[in-house]
């Protein structure tokens, strides 16, 4: 052993290799990649299908209107079909029954609902443009002058304000779920790794050459890295897609929410991972590991439940503020609350600092419990005896 880090890195490397090679890890990673790609690709696939609008008219469609609509269609990815009907009554009927998107007469535009979206607006604009051109022509303007007048366009809209919409709240919700699941999976992986070393007595061999802190930090870090790799695989395609196209319907602020989620995973992981490790060190058989970590899982679950109920309901209430800053619920609750856009930055920082401090304290406490629990073999360790030096196996 040449130093604390070299020993810890050996433990880390071994655990990481074993995680990455395990079937479970490969399967979960595969599923995550599929989900991520699916979320990005599916809207594109369905989005590529061209929209077709139908315009019904009494008699033939004015050529000028038709030209303008087709020009708009090329820019907006839609095609227009035309349907000629006998009279105004039939026109009303086909629009009403949905056979046509809109119906145009000399002086009326029929639509199925009030303010029927983009297409009705486009038809109106086309009619107005044609009418305006005719009148300008009558007023004696040349073709070039008319074109100059008609090329006037409204100022481009650029959204810059905070987006406090439902989409972003949805992102917060998704981030909360992913964090909760990631911490639960990582906790379970840590518990299994620790319980395996304990039940096979590998821990005894390790303790002869390594300090408990090296074993526990190495194991926890390996699982943490393996899980972050999975999270990045899940998040990266999303983040790239949001940057490259706007088709996902995610507001820009949500990209940062997703990035922040990775930071919260690291903090939440630091708080919970060592508790998972210490709990699992108390078991005698590997099969007891899942039962042993139930108390820690419960703390995590309660934090998550409070996040999706109290915090998501009213992100501005005092309770929400408290829950999102309390170190044991903050890792899941704060990302949910943050996505509401109602959180002062100082509260985010306070929550992060508190969580980080708690993690540091827990590392020390967990390493002690871990060291003592490792010496209790042949039965399950009791919490009471871990406060003092434990008794050995009965044999």
């Amino acid at each position: 052993m040449t130093g604390w880090w070299s020993g810890t890195l050996l433990v880390l490397r071994r655990n990481l290799l074993e995680s990455l090679r395990s079937k479970t890890y490969k399967i979960i990673t595969g599923v995550l990649v599929l989900i991520s790609i699916g979320v990005v690709v599916l809207p594109q696939v369905f989005g590529e299908e061209e929209t077709t609008y139908t315009l019904a008219t009494v008699g033939a469609v004015p050529d000028d209107v038709k030209l303008l609509l087709e020009a708009a269609g090329e820019g907006g990815d839609f095609t227009v079909e035309y349907e000629a009907v006998a009279d105004a009554d039939e026109l009303r009927r086909v629009v009403q029954e949905g056979d046509a998107t809109a119906g145009l007469t000399e002086d009326r535009l029929y639509t199925s609902t009030v303010g029927n979206g983009t297409f009705a607006v486009l038809v109106s604009q086309a009619v107005v443009a044609v009418e305006t051109r005719d009148r300008l022509s009558e007023a004696g303007l040349t073709g070039a002058e008319i074109a100059a007048v008609q090329s006037v366009s409204p100022p481009e809209q650029v959204p810059v304000g905070r987006v406090d919409d439902e989409d972003r709240a949805g992102v917060g919700f998704a981030v909360g779920i992913v964090l909760y699941i990631a911490l639960t999976f990582a906790g379970s992986a840590i518990a299994t790794a620790v319980a395996m070393e304990k039940s096979t007595r590998i821990s005894e061999v390790l303790l002869a050459v390594l300090r408990p802190s090296q074993i526990v930090v190495g194991t926890v870090a390996a699982v943490g890295i393996a899980t972050i790799l999975q999270l990045l695989l899940l998040v990266a395609p999303l983040a790239v897609a949001v940057q490259v196209t706007d088709d996902l319907g995610l507001p820009l602020a949500a990209t940062w929410d997703i990035g922040l989620a990775v930071v919260w995973f690291v903090l939440g992981f630091a708080v919970f991972a060592f508790m998972f490790a210490a709990s699992a060190a108390m078991v005698d058989k590997i099969t007891e590991a899942n039962a042993a970590v139930v108390p820690v899982s419960m703390v995590l679950l309660v934090g998550y439940m409070l996040g999706v109920t109290v915090v998501a309901n009213d992100p501005t209430s005092r309770w929400s503020a408290a829950i999102s800053m309390f170190p044991f619920s903050a890792p899941v609750a704060m990302p949910i609350r943050w996505a509401s856009g109602e959180v002062p930055v100082y509260q985010l920082l306070v929550a992060m600092v508190l969580t980080a401090l708690t993690a540091v304290l827990l590392v020390a406490a967990s390493a002690t419990v871990y060291r003592r629990a490792l010496l209790v073999t042949g039965r399950r360790a009791k919490l009471r005896e871990l406060v003092r030096e434990p008794a050995p196996a009965s044999r």
Binding site: M1, S22, T200, I202, E204, R211
Partner: protein
């Protein structure tokens, strides 16, 4: 460089596990730490390996107190298998070599040599949990030996092994001892290991009750037995020897304790005169008999405590 265990005491709450245990293990001598279950062997081994910090006493190696750093040159084999089930055999040995401070290249080279020596060369890439019990035991030994330790501590290494595996393992250990290493192993199967170890330290209820060279201890017990395989009979001829006591009598085998100065040849002659003698021999007391003798002496004293 000898390994000295000096005045080790350790208690778990009110229960004393080790009570002033002192002895010395010499290099080149295969030494057994013997005693029944619960005698304190595993606790002592954990103290030796620094897994447990004793209440009092110290461990010295080569005259210097042993710290964590020094123990990286030691090898430890725990009682149950301390192997990663999902790890390939070769990689496992390399990993433990590196934990003991070897470079990756050096650890790999030694792991290959060692697995070859232990007959596991072909199984380098196999998962550990795919190996048989005996192979896993040898792999476990390889992980304890890969860094060529100066001090080897093995907790119940013969437990659950078949006679062939016992012979192989003891041969490997004896070879390391001959090379001048310190080899200390524990066992509760006293009679199984009495021919394997050269020196013993016998512990009972946390105390050393007997220590020394096995042959000297057995010969010096002053307790010779005559073993006779005789035909059926009432052994009335024994009446002529008032100092001779029957230790055991199984079917046709008779074991007799000769008192001080008793002449085994005279007893043999008397037996032959009384009937046919198919086999005979002089036996030294077994290690378990020696243990029972010393443990029996202590029991009344223990009861008064």
């Amino acid at each position: 460089m000898s390994l000295e265990i000096l005045g080790i005491r350790h208690s778990f709450g009110a229960r004393t596990a080790l009570d002033d245990v002192s002895f010395t293990v010499l290099p080149g001598v295969l030494t057994g730490l013997l005693g029944p279950n619960g005698a304190g062997k595993t606790t002592l081994m954990r103290v030796l390996l620094g897994v447990l910090v004793p209440d009092a006493g110290e461990i010295r190696y080569g005259g210097r107190q042993v710290g964590t750093g020094a123990r990286t040159t030691w090898g430890y084999m725990p009682q149950e298998r301390g192997l990663y089930p999902a790890m390939p055999a070769g990689e496992q040995v390399v990993h433990f070599g590196r934990l003991h401070g070897l470079s990756a290249a050096e650890a790999t080279r030694r792991a290959r040599d060692l697995l070859e020596e232990l007959g596991l060369g072909e199984r380098w890439a196999d998962r550990t949990d795919k190996l048989s019990g005996g192979m896993q035991q040898r792999l476990q030994l390889a992980t304890a030996l890969v860094h060529d330790p100066e001090v080897m501590v093995l907790d119940e290494p013969f437990n659950g092994l078949d006679p062939l595996a016992v012979a192989e393992l003891s041969e490997t250990l004896r070879r390391r001892a001959r090379e001048g290493r310190i080899v200390l192993f524990s066992s509760h199967q006293l009679d199984l290991v009495q021919d394997l170890c050269e020196e013993i330290v016998m512990v009972d209820r946390g105390r050393v009750v007997l220590e020394g060279v096995v042959s000297t201890l057995r010969a010096g017990a002053g307790d010779r037995r005559l073993r006779l395989t005789v035909g059926p009979g009432d052994h009335a001829w024994l009446a002529a020897f008032p100092d001779v006591e029957i230790v055991s009598e199984h079917v046709d085998e008779l074991r007799l304790r000769l008192g001080d100065g008793g002449d085994p040849l005279a007893v043999l002659d008397a037996a032959r005169a009384a009937g046919p003698v198919h086999d005979f021999g002089l036996d030294l007391p077994t290690l378990s008999e020696l243990f029972l003798a010393v443990a029996g002496e202590r029991t009344p004293a223990e009861a008064r405590r």
